[in-house]
Structure formats: C-alpha cells, structure tokens
C-alpha cells in the first residue's frame, strides 16, 4: 500500500487524495453497499432478537471463505455459499438458538468451534500469506475489485427488494407472531425468507469487517437506532445513517493510520451504541423525575 502523508484536515483534499487510489474508491463503494444492506436487515434482526443467528452464520462463513481461497475462487463466493447454506439449515432446525436446553448450547458451541477449526485447516492447507487469516477474521478493505463491488451491489439490490416486499408483514410477524398467525400472515415462510436474507447480509458484512466483527455493522447501528427512537421507519433510516457514517469514518481512519479497519468500525459503532444507551437512560430518568415532581409517580 502506498503510504499516505497524513490527513491535511481539509475534507475535500483528503477525499481527493484517498480516492485517487482505485482500491480506496472500491472500498468506499463496497462499504456503502454493505452498510445500507446490513443496517436494513439488522433492523429486523434486532426486532426479531435473532442476533445470535447472525453470529453463528458469520462463523459458518469463515471456512467457506477460506475454502474458496484454497480452491482459487474469490473469498466472497465462499461467504455467500456457506452463509446461505447455513441459513437454510438453521431455518430447517427451528429450535436452535432459543436455548431451552443446556445440551443445545453445547451443540452450538461445538459447531461454532468446529467451523472455525475447518477454516483454519483450509488456510493452513493453502500455505499462502499467513496474514490472510487476519484479513478473513478481522476484515480488510484492500484489494476489493470492481467485479466484487458489482456482485455485492447486485446481491444487495435483490435482498433489499425482497425486504421491501415482505417488510410490512415481516415487521408484524416479528412484533406479535400469534396475532399475525391469526390474521393469516405466513409467519413460518416469512421467518425462512428472512433467515436467507440474513445469510446474504452476513456474507456481505463479513467481506468488510471480517468473520468475527460482523456485529459492528449488522447489529450495533440497528440497536443504536432502536434505543433512540421507537418509530419503525425513523429507526430504519437512522440505522442506515449510522451504518454509513461508521463505515466511511472507519475506512478513512484506517487509511491514514497503521491500524486495521475492523478496530475502527467496531469502536465507532460501539461508541454510538453506548451513547444511545446513555441517552435512553437520562431520558428515562428525566421523565420519571418529571412525573414524580408532578405527583403522578410517588
């Protein structure tokens, strides 16, 4: 990588300088696509309390990506294949992830560790650049080709169109599944469709943040937005905005410093999440104080 001289603190010059490198342009394009898709899918994921499924899917994606590198295909295809297949399996085994039995968590833990071990085996078999492990696990924005950006874009457009069609009934089924079922909403089919969308989104996010840090773009922006506002459309728009800001800032910081993009993206997203929790607490505290001052609440 060509070493940058450091920011001039003039945003326009800095952007011009960053974007004079094609890989940075591609990184921003890919990051933008992924941030929008992840925030939209993440919104429903947080609503449905399925963040655990997202975590498991991302770990399943790791051997897929490593295996794709091993057989000489772009890692992105491996992510898509394994994440979508994993989503289909989880959809067929509806009990996994609800944690009623201690045995189930033992099975999940074993499956996760084994998936990571398989990925490690593929990387070791590849005998290539050992840093590729770190890139797969913790994300990298270098070397994203225009073809990959196109694939990311097509998948994102397809996934977002499906989400736009099923969005309303999905929100209904997520908030109150029993009433939705009584109203003839196909709850089960919606849940399977959503898991497949989640698989696609997880595969996309993994390519930017790496397997281990998908929460940064998939969960944290949506959770932050839902802590600040309860209106669904506003929360969705806010989540997308937070995702975009976190990604853009993270990429810029990673460009100007020697530290990896995964660190900045998680730290920024986590800072936002902490901030939203603080806002919620002070707001709740104030309303209770106001109410008790006016004598409504003792």
């Amino acid at each position: 990588m060509t070493v940058a001289d450091g920011p001039s603190w003039n945003p326009i010059t800095d952007l011009q300088q960053m974007w004079s490198f094609p890989f940075m342009v591609n990184a921003f394009r890919a990051g933008t696509i992924v941030a929008v898709l992840a925030a939209a899918i993440g919104h429903f994921m947080v609503l449905r309390r399925q963040s655990f499924a997202g975590h498991t899917l991302s770990l399943i994606g790791f051997p897929g990506a490593a295996g794709a590198v091993l057989i000489g295909v772009a890692a992105g295809y491996g992510y898509f294949a394994f994440c979508l297949a994993g989503a289909a399996v989880i959809a067929l085994l509806p009990r996994i992830g609800h944690g009623g039995y201690s045995e189930e968590s033992a099975v999940t833990g074993t499956v996760q560790a084994f998936a990571l071990a398989c990925g490690f085996l593929f990387v070791a078999l590849y005998r290539g650049f050992l840093n590729s492990v770190n890139a797969l696990l913790f994300g990298s924005f270098l070397g994203i080709t225009t073809a990959q950006v196109t694939v990311l874009g097509i998948v994102a457009v397809v996934a977002l169109s499906i989400l736009a069609v099923i969005g309303r009934p999905l929100a209904f089924a997520s908030i109150d599944p029993e009433v939705a079922l009584a109203r003839n909403v196909p709850v089960r089919a919606l849940s399977i469709a959503f898991l497949l969308l989640l698989g696609a989104a997880t595969a996309e996010v993994s390519q930017i943040t790496g397997t281990l840090l998908v929460f940064a773009l998939l969960v944290m922006p949506a959770a932050t937005a839902q802590a600040v506002t309860t209106a669904p459309m506003r929360a969705l728009a806010l989540a997308i905005m937070i995702g975009l800001i976190v990604t853009w800032l993270g990429l810029s910081l990673a460009y100007y410093t020697p530290f990896p993009v995964g660190f900045f993206v998680t730290s920024l997203a986590f800072a936002g999440y902490l901030g939203s929790q603080l806002i919620r607490h002070t707001r709740r505290g104030r309303t209770t104080a106001d109410l008790s001052a006016s004598g409504i609440v003792p």
Binding site: T110, A216, F263
Partner: protein, 274 residues
C-alpha cells in the same frame, strides 16, 4: 519407536490441560454457562495480545484477563442476564480491541513474529518448549485439584441451589470460585487449541459425557477422560498426517465423537437445563 521431543511435550501439556478442561467443562454445560466460555474465548485473545503489545509474557495477560473477566461475569450474572445484543456488541468490541493490540505488536516488532495472532487464535501445541509444557501441566494439575476439592458441594449447588443454600453451602462463593477456575482453564485451553477453538474443547466432551450417562460423578470423570482421549487422538492424527494442525485434529475428533454420540442416543430425551 522414538518419540520426538515436541510430541512428548505436547502430550504432557495436552493431557493435563484436557483433564482440567474436561472437569471444568462438565460443570459449565451442567450449569448452562457455555455462554461464559464464549465470552472468555474472546477475552483470551485480547488479553494475550495486549500482553504481547505491552512486552510482557502473553500467559500473564491471558490468565489475568480470563480469570478477571470470569469473576466479573459471575458478579454481573447475579443481577439478571443482559440480552444478546448487549453481549454481542461488547464481545465484538473486545475483539476489535484485540486487533488493535495485534497491529500495535506487529508494527513494533517489524513483523518478525507474524504468526503470533494465529498462535493465539488457533493454538500451537506442537510449538511448546519443555519449560512451557511443564508450567502448563503444573497449572492444569492445580485446576484439577481445585475442581475435585469443590466437586461435591458444587454439584449439589448446581443441581438444587436453594436446597444447597439452606444446608449451609456457600452457593454464591462457590459460583465465584468456579468461574475463576473456568477462567484459568480457558487460559490453559487457549494455549492448547487457541482462543477461538477452546469453546469446542470445553463443550464437546462434556456434552458427550452427559449424553452417555445421567449419573453425575461418572459423567464428570467420563468428561475428563473423553477430553484426554480426544487430545491424544488429535495429537496422534496430527503427528501421522502433518497436513492437519493439532488444533484442527483435536476439534475434529471432539466434534465427530459428539455427533456420533448424538446419533446413537438420539431417542433419549435431552438433558434439561438447570
């Protein structure tokens, strides 16, 4: 047949670590605290790399981080469990911090030790020196002694906490002590199979043992025995087929054994969480 020293060291450390992790893992699964193991695997990575970045022995960072966080989780756990969004966000951030320490470390040491993070994440049982193997085995022996010492009251407290408390067993203190031992075992396991894979070694033998018998003491020692057998088989496979790293071979044996047991005993009802 002459045994190369690295295999002997790996067997020495691996056996002791597996026995400790098997004993601890049984209680982790019984008390439905697999999630704690997951948390510790994230913390182990960041602790070890923080120690490397600060230039101290990575084992000090490893043990300090896992034991400390184990006890903190125990204290927090009393006040109800946080939901999975909070937990996941904190874990992701901890890992992000670990990556930060990693880049600090590699940029300062001019990448002479570029495999450090891979070793921390996925273990390097065949890379142990004699002194490290002996230290690991001694610490593991201490964990085993501790577990056997508290096994009886801990079993009582895990199965029926209220009755145990009424009988004068310090249930809460026992829980903290146990979590400290889980932390120590996690640090040991991450030296053997790595921070990312220790969850498998913790959960798989214990899950298998619970499937095979419902009586607690046989299950406890079966879990330890299975863990040791898993590590031996894994090391043997890895030695005969150098393509397989020891960590992968151990995890493959553990997961395969668990799957086989689940298939054989699939008509039995699962063990309920307590």
């Amino acid at each position: 047949m002459t045994w190369p020293p690295f295999l002997l060291y790996a067997l020495l450390a691996g056996t002791a670590i597996a026995a400790a992790v098997g004993l601890v893992g049984y209680f982790v699964v019984l008390r439905a605290q697999v999630f704690t193991g997951d948390a510790l695997s994230h913390v182990a990575f960041t602790g070890a790399l923080a120690a490397l970045a600060l230039g101290i022995d990575q084992r000090i960072g490893l043990f300090a981080a896992t034991i400390g966080v184990g006890v903190v989780l125990g204290v927090l756990g009393d006040r109800g469990r946080a939901d999975d969004v909070v937990i996941g966000s904190v874990f992701a951030w901890i890992l992000g911090l670990g990556v930060f320490f990693l880049s600090l470390y590699t940029s300062r040491r001019s990448a002479t030790n570029g495999t450090a993070s891979v070793d921390v994440l996925f273990g390097s049982l065949f890379g142990l020196s004699l002194s490290r193997a002996v230290t690991s085995a001694l610490i593991a022996a201490l964990i085993v002694t501790g577990m056997i010492a508290i096994a009886r009251p801990l079993l009582f407290a895990s199965i029926d906490g209220a009755v145990a408390a009424a009988r004068g067993i310090p249930v809460r203190l026992l829980g903290y002590g146990f979590l400290a031992l889980v932390g120590a075992a996690a640090a040991e396991a991450s030296q053997a199979v790595g921070a990312l894979l220790l969850l498998g070694l913790l959960a798989a033998p214990a899950g298998t043992a619970q499937r095979l018998t419902t009586r607690p003491y046989p299950a406890l020692f079966l879990s330890a025995g299975l863990a040791v057998a898993t590590v031996w088989a894994g090391l043997l496979f890895s030695y005969l087929l150098p393509v397989l790293s020891p960590s992968f071979a151990i995890l493959a044996v553990a997961a395969g054994g668990y799957l086989l047991t689940l298939l054989i005993t699939r008509h039995r009802p699962p063990v309920e969480a307590r």
